[in-house]
Symmetry: C2
Subunit: 337 residues, 2 copies
Amino acid sequence: MNATVHRLDPRGKPSLEPMMSLVAHDLNLVNSVILDRMQSDIPLIPELAGHLIAGGGKRLRPMLTLASAQLLGYAGTRHHRLAAAVEFIHTATLLHDDVVDGSDLRRGKRTANLIWGNPASVLVGDFLFSRSFELMVEDGSLKVLKILSNASAVIAEGEVNQLTAVRRIDIGEERYLEIILAKTAALFAAACRIAAVVAERSEADEVALDAYGRNLGIAFQLVDDAIDYTSDSGTMGKDAGDDFREGKMTLPVILAYARGDEKARAFWKDAVTGKRSSDEDFAEAIRLVRETRSVDDTLARARHYGQRAIDAIGGFPAGAAKSAMIEAVEFAVARAY
Amino acid sequence: MNATVHRLDPRGKPSLEPMMSLVAHDLNLVNSVILDRMQSDIPLIPELAGHLIAGGGKRLRPMLTLASAQLLGYAGTRHHRLAAAVEFIHTATLLHDDVVDGSDLRRGKRTANLIWGNPASVLVGDFLFSRSFELMVEDGSLKVLKILSNASAVIAEGEVNQLTAVRRIDIGEERYLEIILAKTAALFAAACRIAAVVAERSEADEVALDAYGRNLGIAFQLVDDAIDYTSDSGTMGKDAGDDFREGKMTLPVILAYARGDEKARAFWKDAVTGKRSSDEDFAEAIRLVRETRSVDDTLARARHYGQRAIDAIGGFPAGAAKSAMIEAVEFAVARAY
């Protein structure tokens, strides 16, 4: 047998570099579309949007569209505009998220809502969201419009679902997965899938890329949620312990609560309902999470989905695009090591 | 000459009744689409959306789509889904508006943000907005998608424009018109225009219906803004003097400031910047607005746009639809009498 089986190896030092090199040229063109289409006669719009868009985001989702297109050997330019639309949807979501969470730090910078207020963040988010649909309409594919309008509705549902799950100790792993599937993985899936649509590939290729994006998105969110309970959260550019203080039921908490003794369970109940939110309480939370191996097992779950993402694109021909997409998964799951 | 010239007569007692009767059957079908498509597995979504959607709105914008379709003799059913999409865009905008303004009363009921909080209102607004695009994609007309995605972006721009104009005494009538054209009239125009698209009529018919909706929208907003400075604002279902207390630069204030003496101008500067917001201050504002005939002239401006709306559809054949659309304009401009 000479099958090439790619097993996820979390002990390496994977990086996003191969994917960034792969799409560098395309991403410049996407950035031009982004900068051009976030303009408005109302100066506050490009000012506020630019703060977040220019401010150090990885452009992970548009990169996935671009890399997927390369995997399929697509030689056109339609995906540039659509990758910009994907980034606009993501940016709109971030602006609204920060309002919902009352966050004051994102990517290591002060959030837009802190600088310009909640009203401006809500409305500029609405603008970017509308603009993303204008970009899709210009492209003219109803199939792409369907995929991305559905993803947008699912994201909003996921955000509401998360909102109603906050500060509720009775939330379990299944509900948590349902939430991250909607709020994070749906856009990763759509970003990859639309590449197959513009490349006019088969339904099977669409499904494969959708699965790659979806599983990568779940893995990505699991690792994000694990990192919030490791001591060096500063590297994320968000406040350490944000999820803890907001009473978010993420997998590390869900596992630590399920596995804890009576005393630990009492602690988590208090923490999640906001009765324990000091730095000492957060230190205790980290200790409990470590003791129950809850971060380790959150990361093990992430590796499971990462492996599924890699296997989903197993059928595509080897090459720079495929290698970069595999290493992007390895990078996503290795961030917490 | 036997031309039928319809002159706007504000002294009559016009009503929305003819338009409501005209579209009653269609509107039931639109309501079914609305109720069906605001559902979600996340119970908070239909609960919150239903509060606003079921709660006494006039469905003015979807009615305009339906009436315009009848004016053109359209016999299909596509406009039901699209009228629902229009109402979803409007509802999403209201939810976000109430967050932006911190309103606590809408249509005589407590606002969603007061009951469920700002985060839920922001996210359910996002959901309805996404859902409206799903409805348009199901219809499948790229032309309709272009009209409504553009209108959505323009609305968001108008809202941001308004936000940056708040509490600024230097805002004049031109800037004010620019704002209401975007935040209100754009959706009225789009709601009417899409009827011409589904009825597959000429560009000229599209433009005529667009102009009807746009001018009606401006008139409608002018009257709304005038009513806030009349003493019986309670009939609007919103708090009397809301605009005054929020420091919004609406036309009654712009005119009263421009026409006022030095003392009056000092008063308005203080009022707009929030230094005068008591009930006594509001009473003084109403006195100044009356003294300068600023409400009267705001309403005169509204009649100007109302007349333009009526003339815009002058070329369409007489009949129940046209009469109802004319009387809807008369109703819009007569509300403050």
